[in-house]
């Protein structure tokens, strides 16, 4: 294993950041092998949500190696982005505690011009009462539903996606309880992230506050169909589901561990734990489109892992120069990953043969970046 580092100055000059959101669309589009992946269409637009400096969604057009800022759409505390499978709508989750005077967060729907990258607000929908400071959302593969994990209110919300891309009212609420031994972060339930399983009818959800994973059906509102207790004080934060749908990776933010489980998509059960890696791996996760590699992040470092029969072989860790990595998106050609930090979006080239990550290059400088998506 080889570790490379990059000075903060050079990183800031070059790099930016990404979020896990948007990964599902990439994975669906990704080819099954490296050779096929090279033919996959490259993204045309990158959207970066920032909560500081210029608060809003920063839209970049990608032409070859060049990223060009097209537009900054004002938006309140964007924390999670999700593209509709049609590519015609972008959803922005607002990490706010109040919407129109009510105690709840909100989600914005933007019409997306697929030729120009232009975003136009279609509407803003409030979440359920007490669903404050939402953290993450995912859109169903059929494009008809949106599920939100709510950190502040300890809940999940299910919203209908209307034909024109706008969002309907909340049509399912799951109110969680629970706590953990880390008083500062686990005084109550804090759902963090969700990922749809391969059926598209369930989400797998991570709750940092209660050290709990849940499988939740969306077929008739939100209904818990399975629970899985994580080690006390672990704080499950990030999820990645293997393209085959049968391996689930969980990054635990509080104890820094990385866990892997078998997931039975037929029964919707989180089954046997396949691995538990202790260390500093509790940050964002990203799965290579081939399913052969996993990328994890923590403490300013990206680690590449080779997936071998569900187990992980650590290949390389590379410092990025920034501490707050909040997202990783492997691009569909399998040769690059995008990394999101509080400074913006960086690109790192990846050699799948030797498992080596190159130094990060800053593609978009966006101070206060929190989330990321690409189409």
């Amino acid at each position: 294993m080889k570790r490379d580092s990059l000075s903060r100055r050079s990183f800031v000059r070059m790099a930016g950041f990404a979020s896990l959101v948007g990964q599902a669309a990439w994975l669906r589009n990704a080819a099954g092998s490296s050779s096929q992946a090279a033919e996959v269409q490259r993204p045309k637009f990158v959207f970066v949500g920032a909560a500081r400096r210029v608060e809003g969604v920063h839209v970049y057009a990608i032409t070859g190696e060049r990223w060009r800022l097209l537009q900054i759409v004002p938006s309140a505390a964007p924390v999670s982005l999700a593209a509709h499978p049609s590519g015609r709508t972008l959803y922005v989750l607002n990490e706010v505690s109040e919407f129109e005077g009510l105690p709840c967060g909100s989600v914005e729907a933007y019409g997306l011009d697929q030729d120009t990258g232009q975003l136009d607000l279609l509407g803003r929908q409030g979440l359920s009462l007490s669903a404050t400071m939402p953290r993450h959302m995912a859109i169903a593969p059929d494009g008809k539903s949106l599920v939100v994990a709510v950190h502040g209110g300890g809940a999940y919300n299910l919203l209908a996606v209307l034909e024109d891309g706008r969002l309907g009212r909340v049509r399912g609420i799951l109110k969680e309880t629970g706590s953990g031994p880390v008083a500062k972060h686990q005084e109550t339930a804090h759902p963090q992230s969700i990922v749809f399983d391969s059926t598209g009818r369930r989400v797998i959800a991570a709750d940092l506050g209660s050290d709990q994973m849940s499988v939740i059906s969306i077929e008739d509102g939100l209904e818990v169909t399975a629970r899985h207790a994580m080690p006390a004080g672990s704080g499950p934060r990030h999820l990645a589901l293997h393209p085959d749908g049968d391996l689930l990776y969980v990054a635990n933010a509080l104890d820094g561990s990385l866990a892997g489980f078998e997931y039975d998509s037929v029964t919707g059960r989180i089954a046997e734990r396949r691995l538990q890696m202790r260390g500093s791996f509790g940050g964002a996760l990203g799965l290579h489109p081939t399913g052969e590699f996993l990328f994890s992040a923590a403490r300013g470092e990206i680690t590449a892992w080779r997936i071998e029969a569900g187990a992980l072989e650590q290949l390389q860790s590379r410092k990025t120069g920034a501490e707050d990595i909040s997202g990783i998106i492997p691009l569909p050609d399998g040769r690059e990953i995008l990394v999101l930090t509080g400074e913006g979006v960086a690109r790192m080239k990846f050699n799948g043969v030797c498992g080596r990550l190159d130094q990060p290059e800053i593609m978009a400088s966006v101070r206060g970046a929190r989330c990321f998506a690409a189409i």
Binding site: S130, I173, S179
Partner: protein, 518 residues
């Protein structure tokens, strides 16, 4: 065993609504089920099941919430306490116990017939004890005996801990005293499910009361006279009305829109000893309105909200009829206190309503009176504003005992008038114009020279006003980031309630649009 009423149950369409038919505003807001509890154990088990299944509980007793705090609970569960109706003492030496589902009229009946005591609560008899007392309920005897929550000794309440486990508690001055204080005036739906209230002692019920009604016709009331009436009314309660010999006098001005023929002032009086042997205070008060063109009649409304209750009282008290008497120049009715209270105990009717509230520390200014006159004479094409009224209550007296500021969570202890602007309709099409009318009226009234220039449009607590009443919630106030200060004052009370909320409801299980926020 609790009774579960699901959407398929024929009772659902009735029980998923409260008295205010505005709510739920849309079907998507409606609850998934109503759970009717018959005991405190039922409530604990039902609450545990609701929380464990990830549903949101909202709680109700009398179903009188003005806003949608209970019935706007998409797919959730209403924990209905209306079958917990016991009132009384377990033994001779024990506390009076009132279960949270008991209706006020039944509370008054039981306490009066069994013990000769009463609770100084509201005059609308179908209001439930659960929300009324927890919000600091008041009524015609409150100037004499204080708020209902002032008399509380302990509260039985179910809370939910961080792990989601239901915890039954009895809270009082020694056990969870912070939660006990929060249950004394902060309002329902905040901390848990109250199953019963306990009182070591309660005030004696008056023997008799005198009732009077002074009527004014709009046609005989030009704006100058109207200003005089308002200032006369306000000045009395600001000054004379704070003297203890007047505390048995409670008066309500029913200021109706000019689409009604007139407006009036009701008064109910007894001496502090609960008799009507000396009527000088009442006569003195009624005399004030003779120069204003006021005529005492025996037919007008008397109690709070009576103007809005065309239907007969649902309660038959089997009482003796009123005795009409003339004292000086005034016509009034002598009643037993019990029969008088029963007559005013009807519900608000099956209508849609919008409500606001104001606490006033001083009487009316000319600017306020002129503003009220203007809006009470406003017309909106195509909209009949009949059924729009400001009920203006006398206040203060025993309510304003300052020691209750820290003992309870009812922060308004300096007011002399409490006002409730209301408008009612039955055609849903009228909601928008009527809501607009009352909102514009209210905003202009509190944007005048008496208003706090830093907080225009609302009666922000200060020299003149003391905010709003949480049992008359008004979601329009959510437009102001300082809305909690309107309801809980600008001092330490709201931060205290936030601490209590964090401690006893860490998951924010109990919430609504205007619940305590953390």
């Amino acid at each position: 065993m609790a009774i579960v009423v699901s959407r398929q149950d024929p009772r659902y369409e009735t029980l998923n609504r409260g008295h205010n038919l505005r709510w739920p505003a849309v079907d998507a807001d409606a609850v998934g089920r109503i759970v009717l509890c018959e005991s405190a154990n039922d409530a604990a088990e039902a609450l545990q099941q609701i929380v464990s299944s990830g549903m949101r509980p909202t709680v109700r007793s009398g179903a009188h919430c003005y806003e949608d705090f209970v019935v706007n609970n998409p797919g959730g569960a209403i924990l209905d306490m209306s079958l917990l109706t016991a009132v009384g003492k377990a033994s001779q030496g024990s506390d009076y116990r009132i279960e949270s589902g008991a209706l006020l009229w039944d509370v008054y009946t039981e306490l009066y017939k069994r013990y000769g005591v009463t609770l100084p609560g509201g005059s609308c008899g179908t209001v439930g004890a659960g929300g009324h007392i927890s919000g600091g309920g008041y009524g015609l005897l409150s100037r004499l005996h204080g708020l209902t929550c002032d008399w509380l000794t302990s509260v039985d309440i179910l809370t939910v801990d961080a792990k989601g486990k239901v915890i039954p508690r009895t809270v009082d001055g020694q056990h969870d005293p912070d939660l006990f204080r929060a249950c004394r005036g902060a309002g329902g739906g905040n901390f848990g499910v109250i199953t019963s209230y306990n009182f070591e002692k309660l005030p004696p019920a008056p023997t008799e009361v005198m009732q009077a009604y002074v009527e004014f016709l709009w046609a005989d009331t030009p704006v100058e006279r109207f200003v005089h009436i308002m200032k006369t009314f306000g000045d009395y309660w600001e000054k004379r009305g704070q003297k203890p010999d007047t505390w048995g006098l409670f008066s309500v001005m029913n200021l109706s829109h000019q689409s009604h023929e007139g407006f009036g002032i009701s008064a109910q009086f007894c001496n502090p000893d609960g008799t009507c042997r000396n009527l000088s205070v009442l006569n003195e008060y009624l005399d004030l309105f003779v120069p204003c063109g006021g005529v005492t009649t025996q037919s007008g409304p008397v109690g709070i909200s009576s103007a809005l209750k065309p239907q007969a009282s649902p309660h038959n008290t089997g009482r003796n009829p009123a005795e009409t008497v003339c004292v000086g120049t005034h016509t009034m009715r002598r009643r037993t206190w019990f029969s008088a209270t029963g007559d005013d105990a009807g519900g608000p009717g099956s209508s849609h309503g919008k409500y606001k509230s104001v606490y006033m520390k001083r009487g009316f200014s000319e600017a306020e009176a002129r503003c009220m006159y203007k809006h009470m004479h406003r017309t909106i094409p195509g909209v009949n504003l009949r059924g729009s009224v400001f009920e203006i209550d006398s206040y203060g007296g025993a309510i304003n005992r300052k020691e209750m500021l820290t003992a309870t969570s009812a922060s308004q202890r300096s007011s002399v008038i409490k006002m409730q602007p209301m408008t009612f309709w039955s055609d849903p099409e009228e909601e928008a114009p009527r809501s607009k009318w009352i909102r514009e009226f209210y905003t202009e009234l509190y944007s005048g020279p008496d208003a706090d220039p830093q907080h225009p449009g609302v009666p922000y607590p200060g020299d003149k006003y003391e905010g709003c009443y949480i049992n008359y919630p008004d979601k329009d106030m959510l437009a102001y980031p300082y809305w909690p200060q309107l309801y809980y004052g600008a001092g330490d009370l709201y931060p205290f309630l936030q601490e209590v909320k964090r401690k006893y409801d860490p998951n924010n299980i109990f919430h609504h649009a205007m619940s305590i926020r953390v």
